[in-house]
């Protein structure tokens, strides 16, 4: 089984979010970038398929040279090879089209992407690559088993979960549950050394077209201070929620 794990290079959750160039660009100054958490769960599940079922695992990112440390980290965790499509990611559809080309060229059986990236939160790339490559698709995937060309997956739905059967080629939008947080791996020194020898292939993009354009960013208005209510005066809290916030 050939697995491709899509890796988004995203600001760490604790990053300060600021914008430059008249609020049109994300300010990367002083920002620590990491593997998108939803992708990391998928990468770790892919490592299980590699170790238990002999799968080969490549990782891919659409981005400039600055994203290579994130791909190297994925190699250090255990991926066999990395591919970087050399263009700055703009909208989800454009990224999905580049990934679809990589998938077709590499004949991957299983593509694992995160349900959404924690920067733009679009949640559209996994579904779009499934549509573009005509593969089966399971979103919000919290469990995945593959036996030959058959797959069993569990999808989180609103208010519960759903167990499905499908076949390869398959794309999943993964999240926590594929593996647990305690299963995530920190690269060890041997992994980091080996990652330096592993191939990181740079692919030039193939005809970039975008469907959407970010015009401007805006930060939410600063929040007012919390209104404290005494635990002995909860009538006041009920009153505030009813008359001021109008939520009950």
């Amino acid at each position: 089984m050939k697995i491709l794990v899509c890796i988004s290079h995203v600001p760490d959750t604790t990053s300060k979010i600021n914008f430059t160039d008249g609020d049109t660009k994300f300010d990367t100054n002083g920002v620590q970038f990491v593997i998108n958490p939803n992708d990391e769960f998928g990468l770790t599940r892919a490592m299980w398929f590699k170790e238990k079922q002999g799968a080969t695992v490549d990782v891919v990112n659409v981005g400039g040279p600055e994203t290579e440390p994130t791909l190297r980290k994925a190699l250090a965790i255990g991926a066999d090879g990395a591919i970087r499509v050399n263009t700055t990611a703009t909208d989800g559809f454009a990224v999905a089209k580049q990934l679809a080309d990589v998938i077709k060229n590499g004949s991957y059986d299983l593509v694992i992407a995160g349900r959404e990236s924690i920067d733009y939160n679009g949640g559209m790339v996994p579904g779009m690559i499934a549509g573009l490559t005509n593969a089966n698709f399971v979103n919000n995937c919290i469990s995945l088993e593959v036996d030959g060309t058959n797959a069993k997956a569990v999808r989180e739905i609103d208010g519960g979960k759903e167990t499905v059967s499908t076949t390869l080629p398959l794309v999943i939008g993964g999240q926590k549950g594929l593996v647990e947080e305690s299963d995530l791996r920190i690269p060890n020194m041997r992994g980091i050394m080996m990652a330096r020898q592993k191939p990181l292939t740079i692919v030039e993009p193939n005809g970039i077209t975008t469907e959407t354009t970010t015009v401007k960013f805006e930060k939410p208005a600063p929040k007012g201070a919390v209104k404290l209510v005494s635990p002995d005066n909860l009538d006041e809290l009920v009153n505030l929620l009813h008359n001021e916030a109008k939520v009950i």
Partner: protein, 320 residues
């Protein structure tokens, strides 16, 4: 040319978010000087949609569509969009709609903007305001394609009643054979789901153990709310994973979010920040959640919550 809205139903009845996206579609139609067509799949009575601005309903009734399937449903909506010559398709942010929307975007060669929180700020160029960076910023995006898909963030637009009425016509699209077969669905039927809830009551490690969740459930029941929990609580197995809200759990965009005994780690706040009003109950006045909340009670949850339940019961009795 009409705006097409996918109005989701469950067991034949419309979900609240269906009425919200219908209201949103009406706002878009007004901006563009056109009408609203809704597509329903195995819904019973569609007349309710007229109240929320829908002019025409395309009713699909087909037993092979009883179970949701993203690819098949996306294809049905695509056929409706093509029949209507639609330029804008509006969907919700339910798990199902977020699942099908990217497939629909590929099918219609449409640009798709998700997590949209307001009516378009401009109809031409078609510009929407979306959340980004896990609710730490907004992103104004133009959708540049001929056909556009807007995914509306739950509870962001609200319900807007209109005086119109909706005509209905049967629509019989072809149904694709799909490659993903549902074997079983495990869903709580008697509780409110986090995604559908207007109010969410959430509790953390401050509750000391799973045996103390009775009061959380009672508070939720008084408010008609969904119950949720912090990550440590689901990691400890005190509550099911499906209740975990936060960055790696379920996102919450409720009108009211009540956090009990949750300190407010940044990963937790990232997941719940889209909620409009936040109330925190915590013994520690230094808990970071107080900085993110609108209302706070510094006190012991075991004293505050039972008292709050009593006060809310009195309030509900008076306002029933």
């Amino acid at each position: 040319m009409s705006v097409l809205v996918y109005t989701e139903s469950e067991k034949g009845n419309f979900k609240k978010i269906a009425l919200e996206v219908a209201s949103y579609a009406k706002a878009v139609a007004n901006q563009m000087g056109t009408t609203v067509t809704a597509i329903t799949i195995n819904a019973n009575d569609t007349s309710e949609l007229g109240k929320y601005g829908v002019d025409k309903v395309l009713k699909v009734n087909n037993p092979s569509l009883d179970t949701f399937n993203a690819k098949t449903y996306a294809d049905v909506i695509k056929q409706a969009a093509e029949k209507e010559g639609t330029k804008v398709v509006v969907v919700s942010s339910s798990a199902d709609s977020k699942y099908l929307a990217p497939l629909l975007a590929v099918g219609l060669h449409a640009g798709y903007a998700s997590n949209v929180v307001e009516a378009p700020t401009s109809a031409s160029p078609f510009t929407v305001k979306r959340t980004a960076f896990t609710n730490k910023a907004f992103n104004f995006t133009t959708i540049d394609t001929d056909v556009k898909i807007v995914g509306v963030s739950n509870n962001s637009f609200g319900l807007v009643e209109n005086s119109g009425s909706a005509s209905a016509e049967d629509f019989s699209p072809s149904v694709l054979d799909n490659g993903v077969h549902v074997d079983s669905i495990d869903k709580a039927t008697n509780t409110v789901s986090i995604a559908d809830a207007e109010i969410v009551v959430s509790a953390g490690r401050g509750l000391k153990g799973p045996e103390n969740w009775g009061m959380v459930e009672e508070l939720a029941s008084v408010l008609g709310a969904a119950t949720a929990c912090s990550k440590p609580v689901s990691d400890l197995g005190w509550r099911p994973h499906s209740e975990h809200v936060g960055q790696t759990g379920k996102p919450v965009a409720a009108n009211l979010y009540i956090a009990i005994g949750i300190s407010g780690a940044i990963q937790h706040l990232a997941g719940i920040n889209a909620s409009k009003v936040k109330v925190v109950i915590n013994t520690d006045p230094e808990a970071p959640f107080f900085k993110a909340a609108d209302y706070g009670v510094v006190g012991d949850a075991f004293e505050v919550v039972p008292k709050l339940i009593e006060k809310l019961k009195e309030f509900k009795a008076q306002n029933a």
